[in-house]
């Protein structure tokens, strides 16, 4: 009897561990919803100054790194992709269980949406990050039709079929992306591209339009949650190209805010674009979402607005906010990497590589010895410890912080590899090129990189962000190496 009992207990113990691992690997790990809330739970209690809620209009455009680095405001972007207002309501409820910030800020874009439930992936993104509680059950009920609710509550019926999509990031706690760094992220989502769109003409719209009944109910619910907690709330509209109908909805939200009086503010920042300095041709990654440059501008403007109206302390220098310092550091590196990618001229490009935490692979291919500007290029590279004169044929050098890690020299065959970051491997090996000559083959993990077959390639790996910055190529054309990047 005892043996059987022990066996049963052992069986269920192993089963529990396996189920837990299954859940960890297979569950969804979206960073536009799930991760934001999961990381939020790890923030110290009552440590945040401002919490921002809403859809991607909020978490792409409110830059928590700038809030911290320039104002010392401990902000958190707690939103989800296309987050309906009912999910924002439950997010506010969750936030107020552990935080009492100086201000709550809600972007009202989705308060104006019409229609019923959002698509399945958005239901998942906006509910799966919640800890199991009565509120989570209510959030799922509010978010989904009855037929699928049990699946969303149990979660595994929705994610068990991911066996064909599993990648390295599923076996880690947080996904490998360029802008999620360990636990210092604070919910922001950063774009780098620029979407050229015309600057919108400011339009005076004074009429109001009714909100959907359910949206208004949840909006009022959010306001009342803030009032019950004694926290002021700012309802805002982040600048984007809004049409007249949407503006009429925002006018209605303004009316609702006024009903509640003190402690409830509303600002539509669309008319403030000129004051913010937003250039719609450069500062946006798509019609609604700013790139990081745009988010910096908007966030500075928003921060000034918030500081003028709410009691927001400057926590820079405080030991309890080290994670924010780390975030600012990572953000700085993120911006720097983007600047490198946008640098076109070789001398400027090389100057930017001269910082710690970069592993840089220089590899030259083709007839570079006879290029007309050989001396110029040779002298440029000599400043980085690279001797073109000593190289025999196609050659490769690997440097980190100015220290030469590897040089192919005149070796006929070579193979060098090193782990970079926690999970990546850089490999430099010789291979037979098109000519009888040996040529270098550079791989990051199992992907080969080479921008030009005739010229200089520079591959840069950022150890801080644990990712490839880029592989740049400067081609030899008509016997001369171009100074402009390919």
């Amino acid at each position: 009897m005892i043996r059987k009992s022990v066996k049963i207990i052992a069986f269920f113990l192993i089963l529990s561990l396996l189920l837990l691992r299954f859940h960890q690997v297979f569950r969804f790990k979206f960073n536009d919803g799930i991760y934001g809330l999961e990381q939020f739970y790890e923030e110290d209690e009552n440590s945040l100054d401002a919490i921002f809620f809403g859809s991607s209009h909020m978490y792409v455009n409110v830059n928590t790194s700038v809030l911290w680095a320039e104002y010392g405001i401990a902000g958190y972007d707690l939103g989800g992709s296309e987050q309906p207002i009912w999910n924002s309501y439950y997010y506010v409820k969750e936030a107020l269980k552990t935080q009492k910030p100086s201000v709550l800020v809600l972007d009202c874009f989705t308060a104006c949406r019409t229609g019923d439930y959002v698509d399945e992936s958005r239901i998942i993104k906006n509910t799966y990050g919640m800890k199991l509680s009565r509120d989570k059950i209510d959030a799922v009920k509010a978010s989904s039709p009855e037929s699928g609710r049990l699946g969303y509550l149990l979660e595994y019926p929705t994610y068990h079929g991911r066996y064909g999509d599993l990648s390295r990031s599923d076996y880690r706690r947080f996904a490998d992306t360029d802008f999620i760094w360990s636990n210092t992220w604070k919910g922001q989502y950063l774009h780098t591209s620029a979407y050229n769109q015309p600057q919108p003409e400011p339009e005076e719209v004074t009429e109001t339009a009714k909100l959907d009944e359910i949206n208004e109910a949840y909006l009022r619910g959010i306001i009342e949650l803030a009032q019950e907690a004694g926290i002021p709330i700012l309802l805002m509209v982040v600048p984007y190209v809004a049409d007249a109908e949407e503006t009429m909805c925002y006018n209605r939200i303004s009316e609702i805010a006024k009903e509640y009086g003190e402690g409830v503010d509303f600002v539509n920042f669309n008319p403030h674009c000129e004051a913010i300095g937003l250039d719609f041709s450069l500062d946006y990654a798509d019609p609604c979402h700013m790139n990081y440059r745009g988010s910096e501008k908007f966030t500075r403007y928003l921060a000034e607005y918030l500081k003028a109206r709410y009691e927001l302390a400057d926590h820079r220098g405080e030991a309890a906010y080290r994670s924010y310092d780390s975030m600012a550091q990572y953000y700085g590196r993120f911006v720097y990497n983007d600047q490198i990618r946008k640098t076109a001229e070789l001398p400027d490009y090389l100057a930017k590589l001269w910082i710690p935490d970069y592993v840089t692979v220089f590899f030259v291919k083709g007839d570079y010895k006879n290029m007309s500007n050989y001396n110029e290029v040779r002298d440029l590279l000599a400043g980085y410890g690279i001797s073109l004169d000593e190289a025999g044929g196609d050659a490769v050098w690997v440097l980190r912080d100015g220290t030469l890690l590897f040089a192919s020299g005149g070796d006929a065959e070579y193979c060098w590899h090193q782990e970079v970051g926690r999970y990546d491997v850089l490999t430099v090996q010789s291979e037979q090129g098109e000519s009888p000559e040996i040529t270098p083959r550079v791989l990051l993990n199992d992907s080969p990189y080479s921008k030009v077959n005739d010229g200089l390639n520079i591959l840069t790996y950022d150890l801080m962000g644990e990712g490839l910055v880029e592989c740049a190529g400067f081609a030899i054309v008509d016997g001369t190496m171009e100074m402009g990047k390919r």
Binding site: K4, F11, I14, L15, L18, L19, F22, G151, T158, H160
Partner: protein
């Protein structure tokens, strides 16, 4: 509710938990309540039908019992026959009404149109209650058993109602015999609460059943549906593949239901009959029917074939009895001529098998064929499998015309290049899904091979193995279901095929 649904995962443990916790005398009542709840989860109105069938057969049983005691003479026998006939008429009438009205009407209108007469209009839609064929046969079997005197008439209406509606086997079998099930239900109070081997054995069977259904059957169904639903787009190879996978699908689908039913009943201390015994290892069609849907084929044997005379008559009559039995069996499976054709084919196989059997043996003796070698037996298995698959085309096709269309394309559209140009990964299942299916088919083959060789079901086989192997298999099955099961929003839980019966 389906066995592979979350609802059942909640329902079953609750039922079992209460079953063992309540006073023993109340157990059968609780099971009756749970069974009706289970059945009404499809449609509450179904309860009226099953209750009607239950009442009619219960009353018939009591009447037969009374007549046997009150009028033991020949006159009493005539009255008994009338009771049986009336009971058959009512129950089969209900079955025919719900299941065959459309079929009868469509055929009648076809005849009328040929004769130039106006068609008969359907006045209302008839919804086929799930499982009606199963419980009707089960109840009728009881009536005939009482008439024959092989079982006593059940006096307790509620226990009898439980016999008809016992939820594990209610909607897709096995079709239980009154002698087996009623006697167990009459002693349900005596069942031990805790029997480690009984409970774990039942759980293993349920797990294996779920694996067959959710990993194999539902996955194979994707390819089968893709090809069969647009058969005119495909050639021989795809159609043959889809047919073979349909053989797998219907076997796993149906056997899994029975397996889960047997396992669930076993946990509650009730033994249901085995319904499938590695049918695709059969070496003849006759043997196939001893291994496939055993409860139904034995029901037809005992209540139709033998009363008709069975094989104890002239050859012609014997063949006639065979054909009638299989044609009726085909019709039982579905209200369509293609099902009748399927049944008829199996009848024809057995008639031809019987006629040519002696001829075949003489030829083999002449040629000194070694009938005891592996390759001979393999040949028998493959030929049987081929014949069964040929018949499955009629079972799966939407109509006779479609079945002939498919067979025509198999013969005329030979396209072996699809075996190497990746086409087979574009039939609804991508590379990953095909690999999962292939591995799971290997698992199925191994499990069935063990059963064929040893006669042991998975639970008995595992009981003899060392601990680490047992647990490895159990965890593999469990996580196979959790990870590779076709459920959740990305997949729709395919209903068990035999539910339409």
């Amino acid at each position: 509710m389906l066995f592979n649904s979350i609802d059942f995962m909640i329902f079953f443990p609750v039922v079992v938990g209460v079953y063992f916790l309540i006073p023993r005398k109340a157990r059968y009542l609780w099971l009756l309540f749970a069974s009706y709840y289970f059945y009404m989860s499809w449609n509450p109105k179904y309860a009226l039908l099953i209750a009607c069938s239950t009442l009619v057969t219960y009353v018939s049983g009591r009447l037969l019992d009374h007549l046997r005691k009150a009028l033991p003479s020949a006159e009493g026998l005539i009255y008994q026959k009338w009771v049986v006939a009336a009971c058959l008429a009512v129950n089969l009438g209900i079955l025919i009404f719900f299941k065959y009205s459309d079929f009868i009407l469509n055929n009648l209108n076809h005849i009328l149109s040929v004769l130039g007469a106006a068609p008969v209009q359907r006045r209302f839609d008839i919804l086929l209650p799930v499982g009606i064929s199963f419980y009707t046969f089960q109840a009728l079997g009881y009536t005939v058993d009482v008439y024959r005197g092989t079982v006593e008439a059940e006096k307790n209406l509620f226990r009898y109602a439980l016999f008809v509606s016992f939820f594990p086997q209610l909607v897709a079998g096995p079709i239980e015999r009154s002698g087996n099930l009623i006697s167990q239900l009459n002693h349900v109070e005596e069942i031990q609460l805790w029997d480690y081997e009984r409970i774990t054995g039942g759980a293993v069977l349920m797990l294996w059943g779920l694996f067959q259904k959710m990993v194999i059957a539902d996955r194979a169904a994707v390819l089968v549906d893709t090809v069969y639903n647009h058969y005119w787009l495909y050639g021989s190879i795809e159609l043959i593949l889809a047919t073979v996978l349909f053989a797998v699908q219907i076997y796993c689908d149906f056997a899994s239901y029975s397996m889960i039913a047997v396992g669930a009943a076993r946990i509650m201390g009730i033994r249901l009959m085995e319904n499938f015994d590695t049918p695709y290892f059969a070496r003849s069609v006759k043997e196939f029917w001893r291994r496939w849907h055993i409860s139904l084929s034995s029901w037809f044997r005992d209540y139709l074939y033998i009363p008709l005379g069975g094989s104890r008559c002239s050859k012609l009559r014997y063949y006639g009895n065979l054909m009638i039995t299989f044609l009726v069996s085909g019709l039982w499976h579905g209200a369509s001529w293609s099902f009748v054709a399927w049944g008829g084919l199996h009848g024809v196989y057995q008639v031809i098998g019987d006629r040519l059997g002696p001829v075949k043996r003489r030829i083999e003796d002449r040629l000194n064929v070694n009938r005891d070698c592996f390759s001979y037996r393999l040949g028998q298995v493959l030929v049987t499998f081929g014949l069964v698959n040929f018949a499955w085309v009629f079972f799966r096709a939407a109509s006779l015309k479609e079945a002939f269309g498919i067979l025509g394309r198999i013969v005329t559209r030979w396209n072996p290049w699809v075996l190497s140009d990746q086409s087979l990964y574009r039939l609804g299942l991508d590379v990953t899904e095909v690999h999962i299916l292939a591995v799971s088919l290997l698992v199925l083959f191994l499990a069935d091979r063990v059963k064929y060789k040893t006669g042991k079901t998975l639970d008995l086989f595992l009981r003899e193995q060392v601990l680490w192997f047992r647990w490895l298999v159990l965890f593999a099955l469990l996580f196979g279901i959790i990870i590779y099961g076709m459920y959740g929003p990305a997949f729709s839980a395919a209903a068990f095929i035999y539910f339409q019966f």
